[in-house]
Every structure is written in structure tokens, then in C-alpha cells.
């Protein structure tokens, strides 16, 4: 069976590395991007099964842009929004699109459960599963 392809986007290098390592440990094929620009490049070149994206990226870029870009490529691609702090607008935005929001510090077990669920239901949009 092919490994599922996950794209992780975070502007903190150490965080990005650890996510990649954890996901690889779980048997996923992981592509890591440190910026939105890099993330777009990856999306152009690789077909992904899931997008894991930090909300606040470098400069004025945000996770929304990356997710929008990914959805343009594949409208049904599942995504998870990671954030230390989300405004009501961000919450609403994510909810509308069926994208779960996980707050940092993230409980790894919860992260893995969320990912597995989304990949299993790939192609369909799951109900919002917001965590605190």
C-alpha cells in the first residue's frame, strides 16, 4: 500500500522538523515547508493526501492562503489548521470549510487521531472537530 502523503507547513524550523519526524514515525510520507511560498511549490509538484498547516506564517502570509491554494488543486483535500491563537474570524473560516483547528501546545495523540480520521474519510469533508 502506498504511504499517504502529508504536507506540513510551519515557519518555526524546530517545530517543523519535529512534526515531520513524528509523522514519519507514524508511517506517513511527509513533505515539510518552512514558508507559504515553499508550500505552494510543494503543492505544485507533489499530490498530497493531507495538509497540516500553521495559521500564522512568515511575514503577512497565513495558513489560509496555503489551504486555499491546496484546495484549488484538489478541492477535497483534507486539511488541519494548527495555531497558538485563533480569532473568531479564523475559527469561522475553518468551520465553513470543514477544517479542524488544533491549538498549540498540541496534544500529539489528538493530532494523530485527527489525521487518521481525515485520511480514512479522504474525499469527504468531516464534521468540524474543534479542540481547545
Amino acid at each position: 500500500m502506498d504511504k499517504k502523503q502529508i504536507l506540513v507547513v510551519d515557519d518555526e524550523p524546530n517545530v517543523l522538523v519535529t512534526y515531520r519526524l513524528i509523522l514519519q514515525q507514524q508511517g506517513f510520507a511527509v513533505t515539510a515547508a518552512i514558508s507559504s511560498e515553499e508550500a505552494r511549490r510543494c503543492l505544485d509538484s507533489v499530490t498530497i493526501d493531507l495538509l497540516l498547516c500553521d495559521l500564522s506564517l512568515e511575514k503577512q502570509e497565513s495558513g489560509f492562503d496555503v489551504i486555499e491554494y491546496a484546495r484549488k488543486k484538489n478541492a477535497k483535500v483534507p486539511a488541519v489548521l494548527l495555531t497558538g491563537y485563533a480569532t473568531q474570524d479564523a475559527n469561522d473560516w475553518a468551520e465553513q470549510r470543514g477544517i479542524p483547528v488544533l491549538f498549540k501546545p498540541i496534544d500529539i495523540q489528538q493530532l494523530l487521531e485527527t489525521i487518521n480520521k481525515l485520511i480514512k474519510n479522504e474525499g469527504g469533508s468531516s464534521a468540524a472537530n474543534q479542540a481547545k
Binding site: V15, I22, G84, F103, K104, K132
Partner: protein
């Protein structure tokens, strides 16, 4: 009757014999009217040709012949005359009481003797004698004074005298001895007649008296009030039927009746005695027992002494008037009057109390009639609105009156019984606007129309000042809380990313730690997790402060319970929820409230190591001014020690050691106060803890 035979026989007797016979005949007469015919017979028997009696008829005031012997009609008519014909020899004879001889009448050859007879005596009549009164007619007529023919009624015994003239035709050759003999006979007859007349008079009086007595008895019996005649020893002489009911025993009697009658007699006798002793023969109340009805009857006894004509006291006449009903009515009247007086007293006291209350309310009070015209002001209201004339001089007061009038008119015509509204009036002394809370109520008349309105003006200056201070303090608190939240958020945010990396590293290293380094790894892992929790908590507070809307307390509670359902079940905690389903929404952040519920539910769970009961209740409270939702979250856990209760809402205070952040209750308190609510706690060590939260609702 005189007969020829008699006159023949008499002619054979001596004068003395004849006189004795005549006396005896006269004596045998039983009635006065028998005397005169006998006399005429005796006169004729003496040898006189004819004689007649002409008597005074008081009705026609004339002398009329009544009895005659041997007299023709025409002869008799000669001796008829008015008693006022004073020169008539008959009248003169009567008036002078002396016999008069008429020498020769026309058409008659013999002279005639007129001899007056009338009621007269040397001794007074019995009545005059007994009463020792002068004026007895017998005596008066016996005196030599000139007789008054028109007034022949005795002043003492009411007896009407007879007066008549015996007319005898004398023989032409009659001797003086014969005439004297005649006079003696007439005089004797008169004496007899006077005596019989007197006896008859007394007999008639007795008959009259019997009639009078019978009449009096009828009167007495016909009186419905008891009437009793008593003698001087207060013994009952006579009583009517009404009195017998009380004072006389009938033939068949009960013992009770006997006692009642005895008692009545005793009471009556005592009353009479006391009246006699006190000398007041007047009126007195007397309670007697009605033996038939067996009830007490109240009488008013009116007694008067009875006297004989000569002034001797013979006893008492007592009339008893039943005044039971009268007294009862009297008593009722008195009681009613007393009731009225006491009711009046109560009303007066009420009024005084009310006045005292009004004077001491400390707020201006205005009473208006149905046309919104002021009828009563307390001193404070007078100051504000003025009274009559001085109001007209103060424009401020006029303006106040106009404002109040507008408000009261609107209230009077509104459908509500009471109303409260803000009213801004100007204080005439300080000329500053004062905010009042006008509380008004209506007083209705018996037809349900508004009769009066009462308005109490509550000066809100002080209340507003306190409210302002409270508001300022809350703002400050909120600002502090928000600032603390922002600071915590910033720190947490900066810490967050490095922490995320550390946490991930620890996770990655889990399988590659050597046996001997395992305890160190465990410390590293748990301490990092603790930091993560603190950061999460802080960020949670900061994260949602801007998220404000309306939310349903019950669904937040349900959500929270659902979220923790499995955890609670594992901890052996039974959940009892009682959520009132008519709670209106509250304003604020649902997320923040969810945090409140979460923190409290987690605390409750942690306090119940051995399991227990968690209860959550919601209820709508209404204190008449505000509506509040009351939320109770309680547990049957270990409770909070007393010394902790004071500090438990401060940050970084925890009982959970490493597991706790010490921020939970601080955040709970902050959130509740941010929502304008109140948080209270009641706890007993070993029994449990109850958090009581009140949050205002918005309609």
C-alpha cells in the same frame, strides 16, 4: 191615700192619739217619697179640706205641685211659680223658711198656709262630720240666713236638697192650737223625710261608687302593664291580670313557679320598702322573673302613694312598665356607640401611624385626585413643588409641577395599577437637576374608578453615585483582568513555539531512552506537559475574550457534560442535572462560560477520588428588578479547607500539586465578573463543595 173613711175615723180620736198615729205612720215609711202623701193624708185627717205639695223643680227652676189631696187641677195650678218670682208668697216662704199665711186667694174664700219643707238639720251630715268639714247643706239650711234656692247642693257630700212648700187650706175658723198642731205635724214629717233622704243619698252614693269601682277595675284589668295596689305594709290588696302573672300562684303550680313568684314578691316588696325609706315615690328599675316564660323581665316601677280624702296614706299604687326591650335597645345602642367610638379610635390611630410613616419615609410623596390635581404633599414634596401661591412665584417649582403633572396624568389614564418611571426634577435650592425614581400606585373608589394616585419620588442621586462607583470599579477590574490576560497571552505565545518543539522532541525520544535515564525522561515529560497545560490555560483565556454574543446557559452546560461524560464515568461520578427549560439567553461569550463549566466540572471530578455525585442545576431567578440565571455546580467530594477558601480565587493557587495550574478558579471568577455575574462558594471538608453562579439574562 186619704179617704173619707179615714177622715171620719180620725174625727173620733184625741189629738194626742192622732199625733202618735201620724208619727207611727210616718215612721213606717221606708222611702222619702212615701212621706209627703202620708203627710197630706194626716193633714186632711186633721180636718183640713185640702192640701198639696208644690216642690222645687231645679231643672225648670220653678215650684210645681207634685202631690195633692182633694185639690182640683185649677187649684193646683195656682201654686205653680218660678223660683225667681221673689214676691210670690210661696217663694218668700221658702226663702225665709217661715210658714206664710195667704189670707184669701182669689176665687177662694179660705186662707191658705204655706209651710216650707227642705233638707235641713241641726247636726251636719255624716260625711261632713267624718271629714270635719264645714259647709254641710243641712246645717246651712237650718240656719236663719236667707235661703239660696238656686244653690241647693251640699259642698261636702254633693247631695242635692229637696225643697218644697206644703200648702194647706185652712178652715175659716181654725184656732191657733190647731195651726200649731199642723205645723208640728209638717215639721215631724220633714224631719223624717230629711233622714230618709240622707240615707237614700248615701245609698245612691254607694251604688255610684260600685259603678266607679267596677269601671276602675275594668281600666286596671285592661291595662297590659302590671298594676298593683298595696297597703301600708306593702301587702298586695289588688292586682290586675298582668300582675298576677308575676305575683300570684295559680292552682296548679310547679316548684319553679312557686320560687319565681316568691322571689318576685320579695323583690317587689323590697323595692317598695326602699322607695318608702328613701322617700322617693318615683321610678325605679325592677327585674322580675316571668314564671311562665322562665325569663327575666326588666320593669320600670312607677309608684304613687294613695291617700284617703282626709289625707291619710293608705298604701301604694304601682304600675310596672316592661322595659326589657327598651333596655335591650338601649344597650344595643350603647354597644353600637362604643363600637363606633372604638372604630373611630382605630381609624384615628391608623391615620396617625400613616402620617408618621409618611413623615418618616424620607422621600417626597404626592397624592393626586382623579384629575391629577395635587391634594396632599409631604414636606419634602412641598419643597420640590411648592404649595399654592409660593409655587406660582417660583418658575422652577412650576416646571417641576408641570413635569410631574404630565407623568401623573399619563399614569392615571394608563391601565396599570402601579408604575415606576424616571423623572428629572430640579431642586429649587441648589437649582440642580435631580434624578428621581417615581413609584406610583392607584387608589380606587367603590365603583372601580381611580380616586387617587399616590406617587413616591425616590431620589436616585445616592444610588447613582454608588452605581457609578461600582461600575468604575468593575471597569477597572475588567481592565486589569484583560491586561493580565493579554500579558499571559503574549508570554504564552512566545513560549508556545519552543514548547511545541520540546514537546515533540520528548515524544520522539520516547523509544530511544536508556533504562537508567528513564526516570529523568519521565520528569522531563511530565514537567513539560505541565508547562503545556499552563500555556494552554492562559491562551484559552486570551483566545476568546472578543467573542461576545448571546448564548444559552443550558446548552453550554449540556456540551460540557457531554465532553466530560466518559471521564466522569471512569471516575465513578454520577451526574445529576436539573436544568430549567425556560431560561432566556445570556449575553457574553459561550466559550468563556464553557471554560467556567469545564474548570468547575474538572475540579469537582478531581475532588471525588472515590466517586460521588456531581450536580448541575440552572434556575431563573427574579427579584422583581432583575432576572438572573442561577447555576449551581456541586460535588460530594473532599471539600475545600477553610483557610483555602479565602485565597482559592487568586492566581497560581492549587490543591492539585503538579497536576494543577492554579489558574482555573481565577479564570472562572474573572469570566463571571466580566459577565456582570456573581460567584460564591460553599464548602465543607469531607462533605463537598457547591459553586453558586448568578448571571444576568437579557430579554
Amino acid at each position: 191615700m186619704a179617704t173619707a173613711q179615714m177622715s171620719v175615723r180620725s174625727g173620733t180620736k184625741t189629738t194626742t192619739e192622732r199625733r202618735r198615729d201620724a208619727a207611727l205612720r210616718l215612721l213606717t215609711a221606708e222611702r222619702s217619697d212615701e212621706i209627703l202623701p202620708v203627710l197630706l193624708e194626716e193633714i186632711v185627717a186633721l180636718g183640713y179640706p185640702r192640701a198639696l205639695i208644690t216642690a222645687v223643680d231645679y231643672d225648670s227652676a220653678e215650684l210645681r205641685p207634685t202631690v195633692s189631696l182633694n185639690c182640683s187641677k185649677s187649684f193646683q195650678q195656682r201654686f205653680r211659680t218660678s223660683i225667681y218670682a221673689l214676691d210670690h208668697p210661696l217663694v218668700q216662704s221658702l226663702q225665709t223658711q217661715k210658714p206664710k199665711q195667704i189670707p184669701s186667694l182669689p176665687r177662694a174664700s179660705n186662707p191658705v198656709l204655706c209651710y216650707p219643707v227642705l233638707y235641713r238639720h241641726k247636726a251636719p251630715c255624716w260625711e261632713a262630720e267624718r271629714l270635719n268639714r264645714p259647709g254641710c247643706l243641712a246645717i246651712l239650711n237650718n240656719s236663719n240666713a236667707k235661703l239660696n234656692l238656686g244653690d241647693q247642693v251640699c259642698k261636702v257630700c254633693d247631695m242635692r236638697s229637696y225643697a218644697a212648700v206644703v200648702v194647706v187650706e185652712l178652715n175659716r175658723n181654725a184656732s191657733a192650737a190647731q195651726t200649731a198642731n199642723l205645723s208640728g205635724l209638717i215639721e215631724m214629717a220633714n224631719r223624717h223625710m230629711a233622714r230618709l233622704f240622707k240615707t237614700e243619698h248615701y245609698y245612691n252614693r254607694m251604688s255610684d261608687m260600685e259603678v266607679t269601682i267596677a269601671q276602675m277595675e275594668t281600666v286596671m284589668e285592661s291595662m297590659s302593664d302590671p298594676v298593683i295596689l298595696t297597703d301600708n305594709q306593702h301587702r298586695v290588696i289588688m292586682q290586675n291580670k298582668a300582675a298576677e302573672r308575676f305575683f300570684m300562684l295559680p292552682e296548679e303550680v310547679s316548684e319553679g313557679r312557686v320560687r319565681a313568684v316568691e322571689l318576685n314578691n320579695m323583690l317587689f316588696s323590697a323595692a317598695l320598702s326602699s322607695m318608702a325609706v328613701s322617700g322617693s315615690d318615683g321610678t325605679r328599675d325592677l327585674a322580675l322573673v316571668d314564671a311562665v316564660e322562665a325569663e327575666e323581665v326588666l320593669f320600670e316601677a312607677v309608684s304613687a302613694p294613695s291617700f284617703t280624702r282626709d289625707g291619710r296614706r293608705t298604701g301604694m299604687v304601682t304600675v310596672l312598665r316592661d322595659v326589657t326591650e327598651l333596655r335591650r335597645a338601649d344597650e344595643e345602642l350603647r354597644q353600637n356607640y362604643e363600637k363606633l367610638t372604638s372604630a373611630e379610635e382605630v381609624v384615628r390611630q391608623d391615620r396617625d401611624r400613616l402620617n408618621l410613616i409618611i413623615e418618616n419615609v424620607g422621600d417626597p410623596i404626592v397624592v393626586c385626585d382623579k384629575d391629577s390635581k395635587i391634594v396632599l404633599l409631604d414636606p419634602l414634596a412641598q419643597e420640590l413643588l411648592g404649595t399654592g401661591r409660593d409655587a406660582a412665584r417660583s418658575p422652577v417649582r412650576l416646571r417641576n409641577q408641570a413635569k410631574l403633572d404630565a407623568y401623573i396624568t399619563a399614569f392615571t389614564y394608563s391601565f396599570s395599577d402601579r408604575e415606576s418611571a424616571p423623572l428629572r426634577l430640579i431642586n429649587p435650592t441648589s437649582s440642580q437637576e435631580v434624578e428621581f425614581d417615581a413609584h406610583s400606585g392607584k387608589i380606587y373608589d367603590e365603583r372601580g374608578q381611580v380616586a387617587y394616585t399616590v406617587t413616591v419620588l425616590r431620589d436616585l442621586t445616592a444610588v447613582r453615585r454608588v452605581e457609578q462607583m461600582k461600575m468604575e470599579r468593575r471597569m477597572l477590574e475588567m481592565e486589569k483582568f484583560a491586561a493580565a490576560g493579554r500579558l499571559a497571552g503574549t508570554i504564552a505565545h512566545e513560549v508556545n513555539n519552543p514548547l511545541e518543539a520540546i514537546k515533540n522532541c520528548i515524544y520522539l525520544l520516547a523509544n530511544s531512552v536508556q533504562e537508567e535515564a528513564q526516570p529523568v525522561y519521565t520528569i522531563l515529560k511530565t514537567e513539560t506537559e505541565r508547562v503545556a497545560r499552563i500555556v494552554r490555560q492562559m491562551l484559552g483565556l486570551y483566545r476568546n475574550t472578543e467573542q461576545v454574543g448571546t448564548f444559552d446557559v443550558n446548552s453550554v452546560a449540556e456540551d460540557t457534560l457531554l465532553l466530560f461524560a466518559r471521564q466522569l464515568e471512569r471516575a465513578g461520578v454520577i451526574v445529576e442535572k436539573d436544568l430549567q427549560d425556560t431560561i432566556p439567553p445570556s449575553v457574553g461569550s459561550a466559550d468563556q462560560l464553557r471554560q467556567v463549566f469545564s474548570n468547575l466540572v474538572v475540579n469537582a471530578r478531581d475532588s471525588m477520588n472515590q466517586g460521588g455525585t456531581l450536580f448541575i442545576r440552572t434556575k431563573l431567578l427574579n427579584n422583581g428588578v432583575h432576572e438572573m440565571v442561577r447555576i449551581l455546580i456541586g460535588d460530594t467530594g473532599c471539600g475545600i479547607p477553610k483557610q483555602m477558601v479565602e485565597t482559592m480565587f487568586e492566581p497560581f493557587v492549587t490543591t492539585k500539586g503538579e497536576r494543577g495550574t492554579g489558574l482555573g478558579l481565577w479564570i472562572v471568577k474573572g469570566i463571571i465578573e466580566n459577565h456582570g455575574g456573581k460567584l460564591r462558594v460553599r464548602s465543607k471538608v469531607g462533605q463537598g463543595t457547591v459553586f453558586k453562579i448568578d448571571i444576568p439574562v437579557v430579554r
